[in-house]
């Protein structure tokens, strides 16, 4: 995020005149709407906002935001965004990427952006598939995923985006669902966080990977969503279940909560700054556990850009550029006429 005197805008102000070209029913539409609803609420100004993306269906996003935008090349959005932010720190930088773009070809740049903690919002549209190239499996695809490149099912273990982010040093990790109403709030928290805010959004690719998230996104399965809130107990399934700690094995477990008495059940209270719990939450195997959603971890530390500018200020303090002098130093001598 960055500090600008907020101005009044409406979601409409953030829409471009460009025809949106995703498949009818694609989850990307919902995310686009959510972002366009978020911008006015955070008091963003369109001309001071930049959306940077890589390549993929998701990465078409910038064309639809009435801001500055850069649709770059596959996997490199974090690196381009780093240059944008360092060259122009007043800009509010949003990076849009897909599971292939951010975690396959772009994994290294994602890792280093998180490590350095560049101040920006990183939205990962995770549909567990390569949409734009017509449906090959991706690093987030579950084992056994049949796709044009894995006709007999994929055999490699999928990566857990949020676990990867924590391992890379992320200081803000959140999860949401393309169509979930909470998405706007998650995006606002991401924007409020100074540093790289990593947001994994489960996005339904209706054409090549329809309903992979149905296990917790479908109306019938809402009970499998664990929405986390800082300072609040980790309750789900209409507060009839909660997450507690098994101290012996130092692992999480699901406990029943009888008539709301969650303390008795030993349900954990969510502390967004607890890294250990964050590790456990992002690694909870779904099925046996619910899907942890919302802000999983949020513990700011100095951003890369601020550190760079502080050093620049300190180093250049009182130094005046004098090119003529600069090139005239070193091993010099004078030849007289």
């Amino acid at each position: 995020m960055n500090d600008m005197t907020p101005i009044k805008t409406t979601p409409k102000d953030w829409e471009t005149d460009q025809e949106v070209r995703w498949c009818p029913g694609c989850g990307d539409y919902a995310i686009l709407k959510a972002v366009q609803r978020t911008m006015p609420e955070i008091g963003g100004t369109p001309e001071n906002t930049v959306f940077v993306s890589g390549i993929g269906c998701s990465s078409r996003f910038p064309y639809y935001m009435e801001t500055y935008g850069f649709h770059t090349i596959h996997g490199r959005a974090p690196a381009v965004a780093t240059g944008v932010k360092l060259a122009n720190p007043d800009l509010d930088v949003w990076v849009i990427s897909g599971d292939g773009d951010a975690l396959s070809i772009g994994g290294n740049h994602t890792m280093h952006m998180l490590r350095r903690n560049l101040d920006c919002q990183f939205l990962l549209f995770n549909n567990e598939i390569y949409g734009l190239t017509k449906g090959q499996y991706s690093p987030t695809s579950r084992e056994g995923t049949r796709s044009p490149s894995t006709p007999f099912g994929s055999v490699d273990h999928p990566t857990k985006p949020c676990a990867f982010a924590l391992g890379a040093g992320a200081r803000f990790v959140a999860r949401a669902i393309d169509v979930s109403k909470q998405l706007v709030d998650v995006l606002k928290s991401a924007h409020a966080h100074k540093g790289t805010a990593f947001v994994e959004i489960f996005q339904n690719c209706i054409v090549y990977n329809a309903d992979v998230f149905a296990g917790f996104t479908e109306k019938a399965n809402r009970d499998h969503q664990l929405w986390l809130e800082n300072g609040k107990p980790m309750l789900f399934a209409g507060d009839t279940k909660g997450i507690a700690l098994d101290v012996a094995s130092l692992s999480l477990k699901v406990v029943d909560v009888v008539d709301g008495n969650w303390e008795a059940a030993g349900v954990l209270v969510h502390d967004v700054t607890n890294r250990t719990v964050a590790h456990m939450l992002v690694e909870m195997p779904f099925g046996e556990f619910p899907m942890a959603l919302g802000v999983l971890y949020d513990d700011p530390r100095p951003t890369f850009d601020s550190a760079v500018f502080e050093q620049n200020a300190a180093v250049t303090k009182g130094k005046l550029p004098n090119l003529q002098k600069l090139i005239s130093t070193g091993q010099t001598w004078t030849v007289d006429a």
Binding site: T16, Q18, P46, E47, N48, V50, V52, I55, P62, Y63, M65, E66, T67, Y68, G69, F70, H71, T72, I73, R76, P78, A79, V80, A81, T82, G83, V84, K85, L86, A87, N88, D90, L91, N108, H109, M111, H112, V308, N312, V315, T316, K319, L320, P321, L323, Q324, L326, I327, S328, T329, G330, Q331, T332, W333, T334, V335, D336, A337
Partner: protein
């Protein structure tokens, strides 16, 4: 006794009498500080008013084990009373601080050349390491050269004894003893070196005094030996008078520093800030190092996680309104080619510096070569034209960097600037330019909606599109790597539009030719029997060879290209005005391809791909063969 010296000279006269230029090579173990010795000797040559050129040649290993053949570090200087453009072919004098240094360098020495050897280092152990069965100082294997040997190690220890250094530290002063002797040999003033030592060791006066003592001892040895002390043999002395050079302030400069300063100068003239995204690689790293100290000049340096991130961040910075610059060597440039395509498609200014090294693949990282011209001119997918310019020397790299910035910002295009390992590392005298004499070329960021409306892909008369800083109200727009619609810059897949944009991109880059000088002939005539056409760091040897050939009355001229793409508009006509065109390159014939394609001239390649610069003699021979 320990300090006994012997001289074995063939009948022919001392090598130092002859020509008006002398080539000296200092060679020793990487630990012996030869680069330092060379650097200081260079300074004193400069102060003596000589023109000169140098060539440092250090091992690929960071710190090779003591005394090994691959651990030898050498520094060659060619200085004289006339114009000097190369570090010289064969040395007249070789200073060999150990057997390995002798073994690896003596074969280059001129017949009758002078060897100065530290006999103290010619121990059985060191001889073995250098794969000598017998001590060459003892047998007559060095017969065709002059040999002066004495125990420099011992003499140094004696000289610095008073300062009570440890043996290791004391021996580190050897190079100053040698330098002192060299200064005497060429009748040079010691004071500047003494001042430099005082300054260098300000924090440790004892070391300063010890080194100064060694320096003086070396110098004194020359003197006393001359007046014939027992067991000492006279050492030839020689004064090389000052070269007639333009008056003014001079300094030594390496290509790496020249590129860094030139980029800074270019950005000042363009009135933009610089963002440098780099990733270390030999021999390009020094540009990153130099720029990282220049923050007050509006330079931000970013060491990225890899070359792709380096250029991607630079492209991001260019989009955000600074001049993005990135730098690498061949293998790193290869990784950048996809992103270079993005810069071409989005028409953003960008400077890409390639300090070429020996290829292919990892190749010979510490050696020099010119084999990335194909990559620069042709090495991208799609029809992806961009301007390419090449520096001919360390000092020329300054102006080339400015030129790269000018073209990038004026035409909104990535530009590739080619230098090489030789240019990057070699130091040469540079007459410090007066910056007020440079014509500024300020960029104008579009900051309002022009009448007729804002067209992100509209064009000025140079076919450049407008540069807009994100943050500017009213000019919001989106760009990307998919084909752009003429004017609007929207995504467009139509055949007509792709043809139109392909032509626009081509015409824009071709149009650069209207804004660069005509090709000149830097030595000789604008027509005739033979033209030697070069580019990059072959300038020195070609120029010297052509000069020598012309002195012998041969009809040969030297043409040296700065603009590799697009080429100067008169080049085709110019080349056709010679009967024969020879193109010497440190590659298998890459510029040759471009010339033949563009002008259908029968350009004949003269190729050397050994990681070493051309020798003047090699080019002279080619000239004689062509004309004889």
């Amino acid at each position: 006794m320990a300090t006994a010296a012997r001289i074995d000279a063939p009948d022919n006269a001392s090598p130092l009498q002859s020509s008006e230029a002398v080539v000296v090579r200092f060679a020793g173990d990487s630990g012996d500080g030869m680069q330092l010795t060379g650097g200081q000797f260079t300074l004193s040559s400069a102060l003596a008013g000589n023109d000169f050129a140098t060539f440092p040649d250090f091992p690929a290993e960071i710190r090779a084990p003591l005394g090994t053949l691959f651990g030898v570090s050498a520094f060659q200087i060619n200085f004289g009373s006339t114009e000097i453009e190369t570090a010289g072919d064969a040395p007249d004098v070789l200073v060999a601080m150990n057997p390995a240094a002798l073994k690896t360098n003596v074969k280059d020495l001129k017949p009758g050349g002078l060897i100065i050897a530290d006999s103290g280092e010619f121990t059985a152990r060191n001889l073995a390491k250098a794969e000598y069965d017998a001590n060459p100082l003892e047998d007559d294997s060095l017969g065709k050269w002059q040999l002066i040997q004495f125990n420099i190690s011992q003499l140094t220890l004696d000289a610095v004894k008073p300062f009570g250094l440890g043996n290791k530290e004391a021996l580190r002063c050897k190079n100053m003893w040698t330098l002192g002797l060299s200064l005497w040999m060429f009748d040079r003033d010691r004071q500047p070196i003494i001042d430099w030592l005082k300054d260098k060791f300000a924090k440790n006066p004892v070391l300063a005094d010890a080194n100064i003592a060694a320096l003086n001892a070396g110098h004194a040895y020359g003197e006393t030996a001359e007046i014939g002390q027992p067991g000492m043999v006279a050492i030839p002395q020689r004064h090389v008078s000052a070269a007639p050079v333009e008056p003014g302030l001079y300094r030594t400069i390496t290509g790496a520093d020249a590129v860094a300063y030139g980029l800074v100068a270019g950005c000042q003239l363009a009135d933009v800030k610089m963002f440098f995204g780099g990733y270390p690689i030999t021999p390009a790293s020094s540009i990153l190092h130099a720029l990282s100290r220049l923050k007050e000049y509006g330079v931000m340096t970013f060491q990225a996680e890899d070359e792709i991130a380096a250029i991607a961040s630079a492209i991001g910075a260019s989009y955000a309104g600074q001049l993005g610059v990135t730098s690498s060597s061949g293998p790193g440039i290869a990784l950048k080619t996809e992103a270079i395509g993005l810069a071409v498609m989005t028409e953003l200014p960008l400077v890409i510096v390639n300090s070429q090294r020996g290829g292919p693949s990892t190749g010979l990282p510490t050696k020099t070569e010119q084999s990335d011209l194909y990559q620069a001119v042709y090495g991208r997918n799609g029809d992806t034209p961009l301007p390419v310019i090449a520096a001919r020397s360390p000092s020329d790299a300054f102006d080339c960097a400015i030129e790269a910035v000018r073209i990038a910002t004026q035409f909104m295009t990535p530009v590739i600037l080619l230098t090489d390992g030789y240019i990057a590392n070699a130091a040469e005298p540079w007459k410090v330019p007066d910056m007020s004499t440079y014509q500024p070329f300020p960029v104008t960021f579009l900051d309002h909606v022009p009448e007729g409306g804002f067209k992100p892909y509209g064009r000025d008369n140079k076919l450049a599109r407008p540069w807009v800083k994100p943050g500017t109200p009213g000019l919001r727009h989106r760009i990307g790597g998919i084909e752009k619609q003429v004017d609007t810059g929207h995504i467009n897949y139509s055949p007509e539009n792709h043809q139109a944009m392909t032509d626009l991109r081509k015409n824009k880059v071709d149009g650069v030719a209207d804004h660069i000088p005509y090709q000149d002939v830097c030595l000789g005539t604008t027509s005739g029997k033979l033209a030697i056409v070069g580019w990059g760091s072959t300038f020195g040897p070609i120029h010297q060879a052509v000069r020598r050939a012309r002195a012998k009355g041969m009809d040969v001229s030297h043409i040296h290209l700065r603009h590799i793409w697009p080429m100067p508009k008169n080049l085709g006509e110019l080349l056709k005005s010679y009967d024969t065109v020879i193109v010497p390159e440190m590659n298998t014939g890459q510029l040759k391809t471009v010339l033949r394609d563009q002008y259908l001239v029968d350009a004949k390649p003269l190729n050397k791909v050994s990681g070493q610069p051309f020798r003047i003699a090699e080019i002279e021979a080619a000239i004689e063969e062509a004309l004889g």
